[in-house]
Symmetry: C2
Subunit: 283 residues, 2 copies
């Protein structure tokens, strides 16, 4: 069934917003549950709406910083539209033919107080120019190695991918490894996951895949958290985490295309830099 673009925009937007609500609800619940256990006050999501001054659109981002359970977690919904500047057009699919764009998406970054729980990143988006396509992915960055956790994470992702196409998982896993790589350190950011872009095989199927990947992230996050939520950690493990976060920051500021694109096109700074942990160290 070929849906018209207006409907596609509406449906994707509704999904991204719904998922934002679902994730915030669960993260808030975890923050409160944990804070009770350690007898500390929980922090609550601060939600901000922002609008792009001259250009179209804006978004809603919800952030907890310096919580009892989360060092930081941000869940960001955005819907922007406008016209690509000439210098960007050649870099973007379908933008030479039609420089007007519309894009909506959700992105999530969580950094946990407990250094045994990996930092988690997830995002999915729908973009339209003269073409329209989905992109997104998720990856995990543990400070402390855990092979069985890595196995579980990839198994869950592979399971969802395989439902659609057996080629997805190996292809998107490799894309992720290549993307989240720090050439100057000769190391990957974390244990990988998946990354995909320009996905426009079959809209219905692609949208279902994007929704399933969102739910898969929800499931992976819950599993990883549940496993380690109440484990204790040492000062040394916390230190290791802070250095690992230094590398996370290096990646995001030196190489991440989304960060660069957002900052150079006048996106909301707080929403873009919510990916940075509240504290990091360098040796």
């Amino acid at each position: 069934m070929k849906k018209n673009i207006v409907l596609k925009k509406k449906l994707t937007q509704i999904w991204f917003k719904d998922l934002q609500k679902k994730l915030c609800g669960e993260f808030q619940r975890l923050e409160i549950e944990y804070s009770k256990k350690i007898k500390r006050k929980p922090n609550f999501f601060r939600t901000k709406h922002w609008k792009r001054s001259k250009k179209g659109g804006g978004g809603t981002y919800s952030i907890i910083r310096n919580g009892a359970f989360f060092d930081s977690v941000g869940v960001n919904f955005s819907m922007v539209s406008g016209r690509f500047e000439k210098k960007f057009r050649s870099q973007i699919l379908g933008a030479i033919k039609n420089p007007n764009y519309w894009a909506s998406g959700i992105s999530v970054v969580a950094h946990f107080r407990n250094p045994k729980i990996p930092s988690l990143h997830f995002n999915t988006r729908f973009i339209t120019t003269s073409k329209n396509w989905f992109g997104g992915g998720m990856d995990a960055t543990p400070a402390i190695k855990d092979d069985s956790e890595k196995k579980m994470f990839h198994k869950k992702i592979k399971f969802v991918c395989d439902k659609y196409n057996k080629t997805y998982y190996p292809k998107y896993k490799e894309w992720c490894d290549n993307y989240f790589y720090l050439p100057h350190r000769k190391e990957t950011r974390g244990i990988g996951g998946i990354f995909f872009d320009y996905k426009k095989d079959n809209w219905e199927k692609d949208f279902n895949f994007v929704k399933d990947i969102g739910l898969c992230f929800f499931d992976c996050a819950k599993s990883m958290i549940k496993e380690k939520m109440y484990t204790k950690w040492s000062q040394k493990e916390k230190e290791i985490q802070l250095y690992k976060r230094g590398r996370y920051i290096e990646f995001n500021l030196l190489y991440d295309k989304g960060t660069k694109f957002g900052l150079s096109t006048g996106g909301n700074v707080e929403a873009i830099l919510m990916s940075l942990p509240p504290k990091a160290k360098w040796k």
Copy 2:
């Protein structure tokens, strides 16, 4: 007097090395003096020599991290040579005519434990392609505002610049303000200073200027330190400093051309990233 290029390379290199020794000596003395006062063990400069594997040259960098007085200080000497890749040539003066280059320089970044003392940055370099020129500058990034300190810093720099040419200071000050600017934050990195590049008016005069700027940095650093070395600070002031350092890191990883150039051309990672403070925070 027109000196041949071999001699120019030799003289500049000797100067950068001498200045490195002079600065390290003074910084080490301060670290020891302060550590005695607070009855803590001082840290000592770790000096590393590095060579570029396939390309020519290398350098010597000396670093103190997590000292009694310095959170970190790095004094980096380098001498590199090679051939610019095609894609870089159009960006570099004289490199289309002759893609072979030789470059030597000194760079210094100091972050102090005491949040009342500004972070200090200085570098000077001599580069040859088919042309040859000097570049460099210095700037200060205080976490806590101090107008009289700012005035003193700029006055000292202006004094040296004015000895050579009355146009230098206003021109190089503006260049510095434009360079050390974070567009996404709409703020400058610090209180400025000077920045200059492609300096090739008169080699003798330019080299003297570069030497004088090096000595001026030495003088400014000593004055700023002496003024505040034994002042006390609050936890709140330390926090302000850590957030300011977050911005410092944002600038260096997102915008600094030297950092990008160094990392993308296979420079020594530790020497390049010595500019990052050992710890930073984000709100």
